[in-house]
Subunit: 142 residues, 3 copies
């Protein structure tokens, strides 16, 4: 079994932003030469998410609006209080949104390609930008 | 390392429905002959979920009711609006419910069996039925 | 490819509790001698969660408060009703909180170490304690 490790760099200019990483993941799987196994994409950050969804502008808007509503920015989070936390960024809501969406995906690789469905894209969600992020990509297989 | 890929077909008659796939997953792991590794079940769809839970009628009812309440059908989603989306199905809520529950599970295989706990079942949730779905099953190991 | 299977035992005295398992996971990966592969931690329980987050007392408080608010204990769950369920523990909310957070994590192992980010810890959340739990740890690789 081979294990190939790589990085996908992403950069955002906004506080919250969705990016489609599908073509980048597919390209790296193809270049690896691995025919059968799995590809994993892991955020090494706690205020960003990696997940699978349909990539459509209207739906992406709905997803970000849903998680913004589901996790209020206004709640008196201890993580945002100088009394309890020395974190400079008041980003408790960003942490909670990332927890709800998840921080990694694992996709089977068959005949050299990730088996994504017709409407599935590999998505990255920034919840505490603007930031530069490095995502760990791993391809395991033969 | 061997990589075995298979499909589990599911079909629902209702808009929303939970199905227990545990016996099917266990049977396919047993038939594979793989003794040590992992088994993954992946939905290749964006409005259905795969997850692990206790399979009990009362709890299944609660799970579906919780996600139906947590993600309103009535919200003015852009994905459901002809102004923003050409999607025929007004299924933004189905996407969001699937995102919250997750679309894949990975379970260690030890001595030829998935190491599910006493009360754990592999569950499928349809959020946009009635539909026929194909789930990708992968067993990796030796 | 080698497959190493182990258990992490956790014990809580409270109904709900977060525990940091990072040092234990790192120690077991180091002791395995596996240089490249993945490490997975799987809860075999349906009312506890395993996930990745920043381990900070203020944020841990916020996380538990968020999930306690998001999933009401007071809702008339069927799983908690003697009419529909023979479950002794009225723990429907515990199930739902575990489903939202997730029950397993998988982390790439590179050069003998899990590739956790600077602020990432492997966390366990008990939602139906006090309990003793056994978590399945699996390291796959070479």
């Amino acid at each position: 079994m081979r294990s190939i490790n790589d990085t996908i760099a992403v950069e955002t200019q906004e506080k919250q932003r969705l990016l489609d990483l599908t073509s980048c993941v597919k390209q790296k799987v193809g270049a690896s030469g691995i025919q059968n196994g799995v590809v994993g994409l892991y955020s090494q950050h706690t205020t960003a998410a990696v997940f699978i969804s349909e990539c459509q502008a209207a739906l992406s808007h709905d997803i970000m609006e849903f998680f913004t509503d589901a996790v209020s920015d206004q709640y008196p989070y201890r993580h945002n209080s100088p009394e309890f936390s020395d974190c400079d960024r008041k980003n408790a809501a960003s942490h909670l949104r990332a927890l709800l969406l998840g921080q990694s995906v694992l996709i089977p690789v068959v005949e050299g390609k990730p088996v994504l469905g017709q409407f599935q894209s590999v998505m990255f969600a920034e919840f505490d930008g603007p930031r530069r992020r490095a995502l760990h990509l791993q391809i395991l297989g033969d």
